[in-house]
């Protein structure tokens, strides 16, 4: 097998603001004014989100979760995008956006129900402006597009009021870029100039299929054909992801239309805990990407350039321990669904015939568990 990592070369103009070695660099189109304290805060996000992921994988290994979709390697792509959002902005995730959920103040435990089998998601998309995890690949991009149509109809774009103008952030992956729904979203959003950012985490692999199975051109080049901007950003560089997404969201809020952001990154772990990447990709590839780790470069910067004392990292490690405990304890405490709950939210107004089925099932479960 050829070295996939070289199959689609990063563009020379891939936006990068922090090198893998932790050096700040400038990009003429994406200046970023940011304090070291703010960078420390981003590092905290990256570090804690990685801990959420590690804990969830362990819980899956222990049989507490049926499945987990790891974000390892994609922390910067998600935190950079997530921290660019304003409270009124709406995010539409796939099933891997644990880092974006974190930025939207969604308790990590909320995400676990789906993977533990205690519910099918179970949160209110409007409570944190974070829609439900969507498993059918690409389907959520149309929901995001429709939501953006609603934003326009509400007059919530282009007013200049920073608390009112609203953008929509639609997440998907390189595999989803082949889906009809994603391409229909591009058509609609382009034609209507909607306030939406299409944020593609190109993590190189759609389970076993490399990105060159999906596209002959770099993914962000597709945007031009739909009539909006496309930009490729170093998806392992949280500063670049923040700057590029912030710019794209500003563009959307100002009624300037959509942007396609291709966050060029790598799925360090299997597709999910059920996957075995040894069957389709060489281990050397992960070794290469490990040198581009999204956390290490920020840590290197903070230590070498920003004079961050060891105490910061020690406190963060302690905070991560607490978070880990919260996840481990909370996961085991998630309540199993009641038999009736399978029926209760199928409809707003339950038809009589379903009520009969519900009662039969509830009685059946009571009898067999008596």
């Amino acid at each position: 097998m050829s070295e996939h990592v070289h199959a689609v070369q990063p563009e020379a103009d891939m936006v990068q603001l922090l090198t893998p070695e932790g050096q700040r660099v400038e990009h003429p189109e994406y200046p970023l004014t940011i304090t070291d304290d703010e960078i420390r805060s981003l590092y905290r996000d990256l570090f804690l989100v990685r801990r959420i992921d590690t804990e969830a994988i362990a819980l899956q290994r222990q049989g507490e979760l049926g499945l987990w979709a790891s974000l390892l390697g994609q922390e910067a792509a998600q935190i950079g995008a997530g921290r660019a959002l304003r409270p009124q902005d709406m995010a539409f995730p796939t099933y891997r956006e644990h880092g974006v959920a974190w930025c939207k103040d969604v308790d990590p435990l909320t995400l676990l129900g789906l993977f533990r089998g205690t519910n099918l998601g179970g949160w209110d998309p409007n409570s944190n402006n974070f829609s439900l995890y969507t498993i059918v690949i690409g389907a959520q991009t149309l929901h995001a597009t429709g939501y953006a149509m609603g934003v326009v109809r509400d007059g919530a774009v282009g007013t200049g009021d920073p608390d009112r103008d609203t953008a929509v952030l639609a997440f998907f992956g390189d595999g989803a870029s082949s889906q009809g729904d994603v391409n229909e979203s591009f058509v609609w959003a382009g034609a209507a100039n909607l306030p939406i950012v299409f944020y593609c985490q190109n993590n190189q692999w759609a389970i076993s299929e490399p990105v060159e199975r999906q596209s002959r051109v770099p993914l962000h080049h597709r945007a031009r054909g739909f009539g909006f901007r496309g930009v490729r950003v170093d998806g392992n560089d949280v500063l670049a992801c923040l700057a590029v997404t912030r710019d794209a969201l500003d563009h959307a809020r100002a009624a300037q239309g959509p942007t396609f952001v291709e966050a060029y990154t790598y799925r360090m772990n299997p597709h999910t805990t059920n996957d075995d990447p040894r069957r389709y990709r060489p281990g050397s590839e992960a070794d290469t990407w490990k040198l581009r780790d999204p956390l290490e470069r920020v840590r290197a910067y903070l230590v070498r350039e920003a004079g961050t004392p060891p105490a910061f990292f020690e406190e963060l490690a302690a905070e991560a321990e607490q978070l880990g405990e919260h996840i481990r304890t909370g996961c085991r405490a998630l309540v199993d669904p009641s038999p009736a709950s399978a029926f209760d939210d199928v409809y707003v107004s339950m038809p009589d015939e379903l009520r009969v089925e519900r009662d039969q099932f509830v009685n059946f479960v009571e009898e067999v568990s008596a």
Partner: protein, 328 residues
């Protein structure tokens, strides 16, 4: 403000008036679909709505059915109440995933926190001499999907009221419009609606219950007239709702008549008739004087239009079934 039409109207006009009233009643109602704006829809059901409510509320969409439905989901999350038009029955399938996997399941996935008050209008069925994909009956696919409701109107009065009731419902509704009845006949519109999820006995009778919905209902009424000339009194039930099914109204009738024929255009196997036969067998077995029969579309693709009048459930096929249950 629009009120119920006072003069007799066609089903097409009744639907147009009903949509207009729904848009007046709730500013969150948006109508979207292919050609629904300037053109007023290929059947003119949305005629004049864009002129009166603007392009933001009557949306000419790109030609992408999955997106018509998928964006309606997003609009619903944002607080809107979308009414989607699928131009023809056979074109709903590109939107099938969004209907079945998203519209139908979103409320449940959200543990009841998010509602999907989406109405999907589908001009349906045959009898208009159309080309392939323009004459299909798709309701069974959706009746098989938890989270959706499926209704079908068969006359102008129901059309006017049912479309408003469907739009007002907080659950997603597949709204089947029998396209060959759009301009078939004018009729009076009732002053008030019948509850949406109920069947109606539209002609009382004593010998055989004949139940159907949508485009076949006029055929059932015609069959009852002809059968009465031979002394056989058919009780005709307009089911109006396919899912949920008003089983009680059917059972009540069958317990009196002892005989049941279910009629629909959709292919026979695994269809609404099969479901009704199962329920009646389960609940009214000892009332039955004859097996429950089905008169339905055959288990073929919809045929070339020059065959459709023989292929569709028609007067002769229904009367043959009546003879069969009477002679059993």
């Amino acid at each position: 403000m629009t009120s119920a039409p006072t003069a007799p109207v066609t089903m097409a006009k009744a639907l147009n008036d009903g949509l207009r009233k729904a848009m007046e009643d709730d500013p969150k109602v948006v109508v979207m679909g292919e050609d629904v704006g300037k053109l007023g829809g290929v059947f003119r059901i949305t005629d004049g709505l864009q002129k009166d409510f603007g392009e933001d509320r009557v949306i000419d969409t790109p030609l992408a059915e999955s997106a018509i439905i998928g964006t309606a989901v997003g609009l619903a999350i944002r607080g809107y109440r979308p009414v989607c038009e699928i131009q023809f029955d056979g074109f709903v399938f590109p939107g099938f995933d969004q209907i079945v996997s998203q519209v139908a399941k979103f409320h449940n996935r959200s543990a009841g926190t998010m509602r999907m008050p989406i109405t999907i209008r589908i001009p349906s069925g045959g009898g208009i001499g159309a080309v392939e994909h323009h004459s299909e009956s798709v309701e069974t696919y959706f009746a098989h999907t938890a989270g959706l409701k499926v209704v079908a109107c068969s006359n102008p009065s129901d059309a006017f009221w049912m479309i408003q009731e469907a739009i007002a419902d907080d659950d997603p509704v597949i709204f089947i419009e029998p396209k060959r009845l759009y301009h078939a006949a004018k009729a009076e519109v009732a002053a008030s609606p019948t509850p949406l999820y109920s069947a109606q006995v539209v002609r009382p009778g004593t010998h055989v219950t004949v139940a159907g919905y949508g485009g076949v209902v006029p055929t059932l009424l015609e069959s009852a007239k002809v059968a009465a000339e031979d002394g056989v009194e058919l009780e005709v039930i307009d089911l109006r709702t396919v899912s949920p099914l008003d089983t009680d109204t059917i059972l009540e009738s069958v317990r009196r008549t002892g005989r049941l024929i279910v009629v629909h255009e959709a292919p026979q196997s695994f269809g609404v008739g099969a479901e009704i036969a199962a329920r009646v067998t389960e609940k009214a077995f000892y009332s039955l004087e004859a097996p429950v029969l089905r008169v339905a579309g055959y288990d073929t693709p919809y045929p070339p239009s020059r065959l459709e009048h023989e292929w569709l459930p028609n007067l002769d096929r229904v009367l043959d079934a009546v003879d069969a249950v009477m002679e059993y």
